[in-house]
Symmetry: C2
Subunit: 286 residues, 2 copies
Amino acid sequence: MKVVDNISRMATLVKIHKKEGKSVGFVPTMGYLHEGHLSLVKTAKKHTDVVIMSIFVNPIQFGPGEDLAKYPRDLKHDEELAGSAGVDIIFYPSAKDMYPPGYCTYVNVEGLTDNLCGRSRPGHFRGVTTVVAKLFGIVKPDIAYFGQKDAQQAIIIKKMAEDLNTGVEIKVLPTVREVDGLAMSSRNMYLSASEREDASILYQSLEQAEYLIDKGERDAKKVIKAIETMIKEKTSSKIDYISIVDTKELKDVDTISGEVLIALAVFIGKTRLIDNIIKKVTADVK
Amino acid sequence: MKVVDNISRMATLVKIHKKEGKSVGFVPTMGYLHEGHLSLVKTAKKHTDVVIMSIFVNPIQFGPGEDLAKYPRDLKHDEELAGSAGVDIIFYPSAKDMYPPGYCTYVNVEGLTDNLCGRSRPGHFRGVTTVVAKLFGIVKPDIAYFGQKDAQQAIIIKKMAEDLNTGVEIKVLPTVREVDGLAMSSRNMYLSASEREDASILYQSLEQAEYLIDKGERDAKKVIKAIETMIKEKTSSKIDYISIVDTKELKDVDTISGEVLIALAVFIGKTRLIDNIIKKVTADVK
């Protein structure tokens, strides 16, 4: 496994592989790898000849007061995990090479970025789509892999990849969870032992929502209320949002029908965690 | 020469050429070709194996009240000119394929788009950079060619291509002019006979500006005033802007030094024409 920190060296390596007729699978990450990332790598390994993982804590997707400075980093450990999962090249660029003085080009996916995390984190998705457009430019992947945990991100990136005719196929893979259901996230390491226990309420509340919908509940407000009630029982929690939206335009729905995304962001202590499920409802018999 | 109107067919053709190890030169146009476009083709022909020209009147770079509907189109004539200049493939996509319902991704180059034409045509450059990013995605050129007549556009696209790590080299070629100095433009066909005569004042005034600077004038305001006075003598003219800016950040300068862009936009009758020169001033002996 190679570790490449130079942008033009990375682009050259890709060119060489492409000339040999090899397909490129790409797993963009911010590092501090967990099983969620590695599941993307394992799938990429099955589909493509060369698997490239980027590790880059992208400053422009963090807002003021967010956790850019303290975001966990451990390249040595990441290298071990990536290598054993089958990554061929780690691309590890520096922020000053990605955003040199005078940098001024941004990619925006309008509309889809207004709701959910876009509402709580203004500018966040502009940072995400910009860095992903840049990484696609450098790595020129055939297929890029993203986790369902960041549902809105995955939908936005898929839209961007299509709209800008990048030719990159976007694959979104299921959220990998801890035994108690907590979605794997690099940010889970911020949690104290008691917060870690409380955090399992996020997925439990989503499961409860699914249960209610399966039992026939179609009123989005009632389902949201049920989730809210469960989460509020944990005193360490502070809800950022709980939303039920359609999966096309990410707009709030009143009535649950077709395919919906049930998404939430909750602070457990000072740590903001997100989770979601996608629920498909077949037309009810009248 | 092939004419391809299907986006995925175009992308596939490029893939085939790339697999054969061929380099791709790209000349994006809005059609209604003139010698300016053809000079780009001829240079592309020297540098690259396959020359692709796009002909696409891009709706999102026109503002309300601008000339989108009446912008001249003549594909048959364009095909003849392009073919004889050496174009291998004309890419001729439809607006509904480029911007299908739900299209929502835009590329912005911030700052550089605020002055000059960006000031008079809000949203124009966002439309330009978005379509060029899309065309680069489809055509995946090694080198793309633009005319110096659209000086701000060329600088913005070069910045975008670098910032987004497209790997596309941008070449900017000299403005091709009519015998009396008028910059070639598809929009010149809007001019009446008398307006066509008046229009030559644009380049004459730029030549006069150059003369003044060569004689030692360094006060931007005085040079602009001289241009303005000349243009105002033509009663068919209405000045949109006359500006002298640095070529890096496109900000107005008070004192002419280093490399400056002297750019203007002037209505002759109802037709908005642009022109510019780049002037390099070596440090004056004190």
